[in-house]
């Protein structure tokens, strides 16, 4: 029973991180119909920059904010330089470019910072909270994860539902040509979508870093689980990303707790296959008519 509770709590905390990753993927998929496989690596890179800043004695929250800001710029830059020239090309080309970017960023991080053995410090204590008399596997840091990701989600929903910028973003994703005719600067909106996605990815990177072994590859698994979460959620819905993140987090955590951590990726694969076989467009997506 104790194991079950701990594994569940752990799954919720992980699920929130996967939800942030999934949200980043959803942002980009909505805007440009591309899955950005470099999302995790971009978050990794900005987190390593934060790590350098911390090393130079800059305060934790300043470094945290700097990582998010650099993520914003990096996202916009990647869209402008690498992705925009590929618009209208076959859909595999941008996929391959983002995979190339993933490898380049990991290689660069490795050659700049090495296989950093030093861990990334958590924002808050990572020892479990005490409820009543028992210690549970849920720490102050996990609470921070929960709060940060929920804030991100609410901000996203407010952006999409409550602001004119969000309306323009939705219009550009829904019908780019019509949006352009109505005066929306679709190109800029797409860049903005990539930039915001990179902020979410950087946040995920900062949240994963204290719990993983901090190497250039530490976001690989988060990317994979975030992708699973995003696909389960339908790839175009922020709420779907949150629910998909929680489902994936719990599933991966149960597989890890009861069967062994090395089976986690295959657990996610099984989850993905089952979901896609039952509902190919994901749980939260609108069914889409195929165009001849």
């Amino acid at each position: 029973m104790k194991l079950f509770v701990d594994v569940t709590l752990n799954g919720v905390a992980n699920g929130m991180i996967f939800a942030a990753m999934a949200l980043a993927l959803v942002f980009i998929y909505r805007a440009t119909s591309i899955v950005n496989f470099a999302q995790g690596a971009m978050g990794m890179f900005t987190t390593f920059i934060a790590f350098s800043l911390l090393d130079r004695g800059i305060g934790y929250w300043e470094a945290f904010a700097a990582a998010l800001g650099i993520g914003l710029v990096l996202g916009a830059l990647v869209q402008r330089v690498l992705i925009r020239p590929l618009q209208g090309k076959p859909e595999l080309n941008p996929v391959i470019v983002t995979i190339g970017l993933l490898v380049v960023l990991e290689g660069l991080a490795g050659s700049i910072w090495g296989n950093s053995a030093k861990g990334f410090p958590p924002a808050f204590s990572q020892t479990g909270l005490t409820v009543g008399h028992t210690k549970i596997a849920f720490s102050h840091f996990d609470l921070f994860i929960l709060g940060a990701v929920l804030t991100l989600m609410i901000a996203t929903l407010l952006l999409f539902r409550g602001t004119s910028l969000g309306l323009r973003m939705r219009a550009s994703a829904f019908e780019p040509e019509v949006a352009r005719l109505l005066g929306v600067r679709v190109g800029r909106i797409l860049t903005l979508g990539w930039a915001l996605a990179a902020v979410a990815g950087s946040l995920a990177g900062l949240l994963v870093a204290p719990t993983a072994s901090f190497s250039p590859y530490y976001m690989d698994l988060s990317l994979v689980f975030g992708f699973t979460a995003a696909v389960i959620g339908g790839l175009d819905s922020p709420v779907g990303a949150l629910v998909g993140g929680l489902i994936t987090g719990l599933c991966v955590s149960y597989v890890g707790g009861y069967l062994g951590a090395s089976l986690q990726p295959l657990g996610a694969l099984a989850l993905l296959m089952v979901t896609l076989t039952a509902r190919p467009q994901g749980i939260f997506a609108r069914p889409e008519a195929r165009r001849v």
Binding site: L108, V224, T228
Partner: protein, 379 residues
């Protein structure tokens, strides 16, 4: 002499491909007898990567499906061979064929859910496979040998041939047979269905092609190639362990395929040479620029990534596509100037003799409508 040569080349696909394969085999035979043991070992590696790249090239370039999991499929082939070597005393060829069979079956298992997935979804799913499958061998280390892995033994060569040379011959023979079979497959009904499904699934299904079955067949064929390559890799390194099949192997194979030119069976040789020699080149580059150990360990990885990005942005049809376009432009230029008789010498100087074996379609892969295919020469 050059004027009559064009006429003597067989025009039917199978004899034509067979002729090219035999010429290539003779060339490689000459090469292996000149090279040292070490260079033969590298040549064998080139051949085995050519097999893996050809599988992926057919899948991506001809059928429009992407796979980031071919490293994991190579692991399946390698472990199959290693397990058979550990527990049984079968013939080497039987062990190789078993690796192909098991990996092909694995390809069907992966391919069936893959039929429901479009590009990016499939990429994600196969990415998970690449990360997750090797971990299975860690989990069940009693069977798969864990970190130490399973040891393999090269086949005993007959007579006085060195073991390296013998293995290299087997690998080259395997590569040429694979390429020959693939070249014929692509010129057959199956190959045409592959391309029809790649270009437009709905149109293909209206034309009576079973889209899902075609995609599964393409995935299975591709996986079988990866399995053979994996078995060769396991035998040539002497040990099969999980460390040999990291995600970077899958991405390296993708990079090699993209570099050579997706869908081109000749292009796989460029990609394979790059994969085998890139680690050496990157070490010497970082030495000559004195970049330090930290950089040199990662330079090959960075180059893979840069290759993927640059080729996709600037030359999506890869080296082979570029060569083919260049050759046809030169040919057209010369034909305009001096008439037809010079083209034969040009074709010989254009590159290796098999340049057009696999080019069943008009351009390989994505680059539809980029210049005419060179193999359709006038009678």
């Amino acid at each position: 002499m050059s004027r009559s040569r064009r006429l003597r080349l067989p025009t039917r696909p199978f004899p034509r491909h067979l002729l090219f394969a035999l010429v290539a085999a003779a060339g490689f035979y000459g090469l292996t007898s000149v090279l040292s043991d070490y260079d033969n070992y590298r040549l064998g590696e080139i051949a085995l990567y050519a097999v893996a790249l050809a599988g992926l090239s057919v899948l991506t370039g001809m059928n429009g499906q992407i796979s980031l999991g071919h490293g994991a499929l190579m692991a399946v082939g390698a472990y199959t061979t290693a397990l058979l070597m550990t527990h049984t005393q079968l013939n080497f060829v039987v062990e190789l064929l078993a690796a192909v069979a098991v990996t092909t079956a694995m390809g069907v298992v992966v391919g069936i859910p893959a039929t429901r997935l479009k590009g990016p979804y499939l990429a994600g799913m196969t990415l998970i496979l690449a990360l997750g499958l090797p971990l299975l061998a860690d989990k069940y280390s009693a069977t798969f040998g864990g970190d130490q892995g399973l040891s393999t033994n090269s086949p005993t060569p007959p007579g006085s041939i060195s073991a390296y040379e013998w293995l290299t011959w087997i690998e080259i023979l395997g590569a040429l047979i694979t390429l020959l079979l693939l070249a014929n497959l692509l010129r057959s009904r199956f190959g045409r269905s592959f391309r029809a499904v790649r270009d437009d699934e709905i149109a293909a299904s209206l034309a009576g092609i079973h889209v899902a079955r075609t995609k599964v067949i393409a995935f299975a064929v591709s996986a079988g190639c990866a399995g053979l390559a994996g078995a060769f890799l396991g035998v040539s390194t002497g040990v099969v362990s999980t460390g040999e099949f990291p995600l970077s192997l899958s991405i390296g194979i993708l990079a090699g395929m993209v570099l050579g030119g997706a869908g081109s069976l000749m292009g796989v040789w460029w990609g394979a040479v790059a994969l085998v020699y890139l680690p050496d080149w990157s070490t010497s580059i970082s030495k000559s620029f004195s970049l330090g150990n930290g950089v040199s360990a990662y330079l090959a990885t960075i180059i893979y990534g840069v290759v993927l990005i640059v080729v996709m942005l600037l030359a999506p049809s890869g080296i082979q596509g570029g060569l083919r376009r260049g050759a046809s432009e030169i040919k057209a230029f010369i034909r305009r100037r001096r008439g037809d008789s010079v083209t034969d010498e040009l074709q010989e100087s254009e590159g290796p003799a098999m340049a057009t074996v696999g080019s069943g379609g008009p351009e390989g892969g994505w680059s539809r409508g980029e210049g005419p295919a060179t193999e359709r020469t006038d009678p």
